[in-house]
């Protein structure tokens, strides 16, 4: 299979990564090389094989729903690009 330029742009948009026309061209070449490598996988007969999502067959651990951390808002917001009055600032979403 081969990807197309519009597919590369679409995937970049889904991934929220701005991509220039020149970058899209280079990326297309690289991705097609990588997918040639990946395609070999399609020849493997995996009928009836359970997908393996994880290295260990253990159940997800559950924990009690209780407060486990101290208030660390100040420390966490000290490293944010832009905050005000304890809130994270982003461009206006709703007029």
């Amino acid at each position: 299979m081969s990807l197309t330029l519009p597919q590369v742009r679409r995937v970049a948009q889904l991934a929220r990564i701005e991509i220039s026309d020149a970058e899209a061209e280079t990326t297309l070449g690289h991705l097609n090389g990588i997918f040639t490598l990946i395609e070999a996988m399609q020849a493997v007969d995996t009928q009836g094989i359970e997908p393996m999502a994880h290295a260990q067959d253990v159940a997800q651990r559950l924990r009690d729903d209780r407060v486990s951390e101290d208030d660390c808002r100040e420390a966490m917001q000290a490293i944010a690009p832009e905050t005000e009055a304890g809130l994270y600032l982003v461009p206006k979403v709703i007029e």
Binding site: I34, H54, A55, V93
Partner: protein, 482 residues
């Protein structure tokens, strides 16, 4: 004191032959001298390191020191360390001073080790040459025109050039073992779930595992004793009782069965590398081990499955970098979507973007079954191959890397060539098994690594096998000329 093992340094410290402050300063001086060329460290903070060294000296004086108390250890810049710049090799985190400690950092702190600095790495651990770092390529101390391997290339180069007695690494597809092989170190990737991933910046969560990089197997065991253990903060940490990974170190190897997968000994491996690996296997026979040919028939599909699974997980993990809560935000943008897109476009490097795009694609509607599920089914076939193989042998051996250290820039233009550097290591991560690389000779003056793969939780056995080999050989003690 430069070039001593952790074991020797621990002894010197408890016998008061040197203080931790002196030892730390010696290494800081060496870093100041050598790092400008090697570029193994992204951050060095002498004040912070020396403050830890003073605290360690107080512990040593009070007589409550452990085996690592006072020993400087370099930390891969993937581990969050409170108050330290923690970049993960990326411009995206170029200004990220961590507000908290990774569990691995806490554990070394509790052990009294000194954080010697944060080591360079491929951006978000995505690479096999340490050339994708935003902070510049790392040079291999054995030949500065060559790569140290990756992604833990800074850690490998720091230890190989004796700037650090040991370092931490992480291994998602070979990132501890391959740089260890290319820099003549002993490196161990533990069984998935043995070392906590809390505070270790995520690449592919079902594959990532931290481990030690040092000069001897014994030192790796000392470090693993400090690093391993159940952590409730990591949802995939395994609830197992603590173990002493050094307990079997001296066991004789007589009667042990070494499995040699024919897939590791076919075409595709450099002849000089193969000659060293064969010599090492002959040495193991001399030590009393038996060899048996085995097969891992699905290993050949490992690289393909990995480059679906790892990017898929990465595309999800790296969606957190949005320029809102921490990390890089583009200086100019329009609306919210534009802020995301520009921050991510400017903050991530080319290889990271490439993998996010692969991951986004294979997880998208219409492709999920064909790629992601198929890769996960192959992952099970590969894991099952190992289960079958361990019915016939105790440990598996082969080369760590198909070649010795390659030239800077030699493979960076072609991602596929770079990906194939991990052809012998990737299957171990897919299965979640422990693996090691052990120095086993030189080809044209460059180090070669022997890979040891164990069954689940066989770390003590692997360390035993590596240690006995290191008692009989001295490859691991060789250092590059300055």
């Amino acid at each position: 004191m430069i070039g001593k093992t952790l074991k020797e340094l621990g002894k010197a410290l408890t016998e008061k032959k040197i203080s931790s402050v002196e030892l730390t300063q010696l290494h800081l001086d060496r870093i100041a001298r050598l790092n400008p060329e090697i570029n193994a460290f992204i951050t060095v903070d002498a004040q912070k390191s020396l403050a830890q060294a003073r605290a360690a000296d107080a512990r040593l004086a009070a007589g409550n020191a452990g085996p690592l108390t006072g020993i400087p250890i370099a930390q891969k810049d993937i581990f969050c360390a409170q108050g330290w710049l923690t970049t993960c090799g990326s411009k995206m985190l170029g200004n990220f001073v961590s507000p908290y400690d990774a569990t691995v950092i806490t554990k070394f702190d509790v052990a009294g080790a000194v954080n010697l600095g944060k080591t360079n790495m491929d951006e978000f651990a995505m690479g096999s040459s340490n050339e994708t770092s935003h902070f510049g390529a790392v040079k291999n101390p054995w030949d500065v025109k060559r790569v140290p391997g990756g992604s833990s290339g800074g850690s490998a180069a720091a230890v190989a050039s004796l700037m650090a007695p040991a370092a931490t690494g992480t291994d998602t597809g070979g990132s501890i073992r391959q740089p260890a092989a290319l820099c003549n170190l002993t490196g161990l990737k533990p069984t998935y779930g043995v070392v906590s991933r809390w505070g270790m910046i995520a690449f592919a969560s079902s594959l990532d595992q931290a481990g030690p990089m040092a000069r001897t197997a014994e030192d790796c065991g000392l470090m693993l004793n400090a690093m391993a253990g159940f952590d409730e903060k990591d949802s995939t940490s395994l609830e197992r009782s603590a173990e002493d990974y050094l307990r079997d170190l001296e066991k004789p190897l007589a009667g042990l069965k070494i499995g040699l997968p024919k897939e590791f000994f076919g075409e595709g491996c450099d002849a000089g590398v193969m000659a060293c690996v064969q010599d090492a296997i002959a040495e193991y026979r001399k030590l009393g081990a038996e060899t048996v040919e085995i097969s891992l028939p699905n290993m050949q599909h490992g690289v393909a499955a990995y480059y679906v699974i790892a990017p898929a997980e990465a595309s999800s993990n790296l969606s957190r970098f949005d320029g809102v809560r921490y990390g890089y935000r583009a200086p100019e943008y329009g609306d919210l979507a534009d802020m995301y897109q520009k921050s991510r476009a400017q903050g991530f490097g080319a290889e990271v973007k490439r993998r996010i795009l692969i991951g986004t694609y294979v997880l998208s509607h219409g492709y999920y079954d064909a790629y992601y599920l198929q890769a996960q089914r192959i992952r099970r076939l590969i894991a099952q191959d190992f289960v079958d193989a361990f019915r016939h042998c105790d440990v598996i051996m082969g080369p760590t890397s198909p070649c010795t250290a390659f030239g800077l820039g030699e493979k960076s233009a072609d991602p596929v060539q770079m990906y194939l550097s991990d052809i012998y290591t990737i299957a171990v991560n897919l299965a979640g098994l422990p693996g090691m690389s052990v120095p086993c000779g030189f080809s044209a003056g460059l180090p070669v690594g022997l890979q040891l793969i164990g069954d689940y939780f066989a770390e003590a056995r692997l360390l035993n096998m590596a240690h006995r080999y290191q008692q009989a050989t001295d490859w691991h003690l060789k250092s590059p000329k300055e």
